[in-house]
Amino acid sequence: MSSTVFTAPPEWHWLVILYFFVGGLAGGCFFLAVLIDLFGGVDDRPLARLGYYVAFPAVVLSGLLLIADLRVPTRFWHMLIASNTLRPMFKTYSPMSLGSWALFVFGAFTLVAFLAALADAGRVPWRGLARLRPPGVVGVIIASVGGGFAFFVAGYTGVLLAVTNRPIWSDTPLLGLNFLASATSTSAALLILLAPRRWWTLPGLHALKRFDSIVLALELLAIVALVLSLGSMARAWLNVWGALLAVGVVGLGIVVPLVLHARARPVERDLTTPVAAVLVLLGGFLFRVVIVLSAQGIRA
């Protein structure tokens, strides 16, 4: 009998699941925006801006979800400041401590990028802010460092679950990798979905679609590796959770979108791309539902 079944569930439910999903989108969208900014073509800049437009509100929502989930929400600041010494509270070996700081710092980067993107689009009067976006040196630095934090925010939640003693979560080291892949694929899907129809002919959007297909394939491999790495604990999924993982996450959320992406159609009649994007988002959400809830129902 695995020793992990003797532990108690932390009662992390829908607020945490939503945070895992929205936080992943924040990190993923920012990361994709940086990629497009640094390596894409000049006509892809609107697509990059869309990523920054999503990342900042998503980070704000993430913080609110996390605070709402605390049993004593007024003490949310204890995550960052030691309440008895008022010194910074930072533990390098606690994923939740690292994540709190990462979310805080990443929030600052998303705000700067958000304002810079607005300025770049001429939606705010301070045109000088646009210099905080690539290709300027300061913009490249902000994008690169912020992109690093974005990756961290997208993936640390899986590591946080692994650094516990709960069944499934702590029985594999691959949750961080899976969450990262899922955050990236869902973010690409969200950007595709939010892109106005007149952008559908943009080569940048096709590149994003191609990127999403590759990441979905990687995600499929990561899920297979996850199940294999669980060993005998994978039997805990021989129930409705396993069915949801197989049908909802893998089938509807990965395989069907891959097939839809592979079917080329004329752009003006192409409904497969938005449908695929919705399915990817649904699959990514269900993946977090399965991971978070299935592990908490197990007791010795």
């Binding site: 003797f6 108690a8 006509d43 892809d44 989930d69 939740m96 516990t164 003693n165 080291p173």
Partner: protein, 268 residues
């Protein structure tokens, strides 16, 4: 500095009177479950069920009987926080609410905890849960307030059979080893100590004398520290980030190569 203090619980002399549970509840002013309304678990004489935020001591009743109940035995154990030398809860706590005291015990400061519940998932023994009154994670403090006043914890003080022994860990280990030897000499070869050596999380400052497998008492056979996954989990994530990052770079770079030949075209 005072020596490391703790509990040695000899389950072979526990009579299941629950005096420890009552003393703990009374001293620590822990609220009743279900507003004081009695509910029966149907699990032997155990209506406490498990350790949680308002039950810091829990007497387990294990009935081992043949189907006709002609032969059998009771296993009784007063369970409590183990005050691990390598404490998983203390490792993961992001607020610094969980501290190690001068007595080498592990205490949750209720005025610091914000109820994130990471410690609940990290504890290998399922000891910690939220106290619904305070909204904070709570567990046995090994009566830190009494220790500071030179008193022994309420539970061990109340135990009528000396099943729960309190004292310096070094003394308790000597006492426990002698007790195991005594039981072996009296024809109970199954007696052994759980958590007295450093193999279990660096040692448990609340360790037990058992006469059956740990899982029979609801104890994990091989409890582990949660940070064991921090390195491997992070490495796999970094590897994933590198692969996804490279896919993205090559994907969008090839776009740039093609689009550089065209004039700038803003679509928005």
């Amino acid at each position: 500095m005072p020596p490391a203090m703790g509990f040695f619980t000899d389950t072979t002399v526990c009579i299941g009177c629950k005096a420890c549970e009552v003393a703990c509840k009374e001293w620590n002013q822990l609220p009743a479950a279900h507003g004081g309304a009695g509910t029966l678990s149907g699990d032997s004489y155990d209506n406490t069920r498990r350790l949680d935020g308002i039950h810091w001591r829990h007497v387990k009743f294990v009935e081992q009987f043949t189907p006709d109940r002609g032969e059998g035995r009771w296993l009784l154990m007063s369970d409590v926080c183990k005050h691990c030398v390598r404490a998983g809860c203390l490792e993961v706590c992001p607020t610094g609410a969980i501290i190690r005291t001068e007595f080498d015990t592990v205490v949750i400061q209720s005025d610091v905890c914000n109820g994130c519940r990471d410690c609940i998932a990290a504890c290998p023994f399922g000891v910690i849960e939220i106290n619904p009154v305070s909204g904070t994670a709570q567990k046995c403090t090994l009566c830190y307030d009494r220790l500071q006043a030179g008193l022994e914890p309420a539970c061990s003080k109340a135990c009528p059979t000396a099943s729960i022994r309190f004292g310096p860990i070094a003394d308790l280990k000597t006492l426990a080893a002698a007790r195991v030897e005594q039981l072996h000499g009296r024809g109970e070869p199954r007696a052994y100590l759980y958590g007295a050596d450093e193999k279990v999380l660096g040692g448990l400052n609340a360790f037990f004398l058992l006469v059956d497998k740990p899982e029979v008492y609801g104890l994990p056979p091989d409890p582990k520290i949660p940070s064991r996954n921090l390195g491997p989990g992070s490495l796999w994530s970094v590897l994933g980030a590198v692969v996804i990052g490279l896919v993205g770079v090559f994907n969008f770079r090839s776009r740039r190569v093609r689009s550089d030949a065209r004039p700038e075209r803003e679509a928005a």
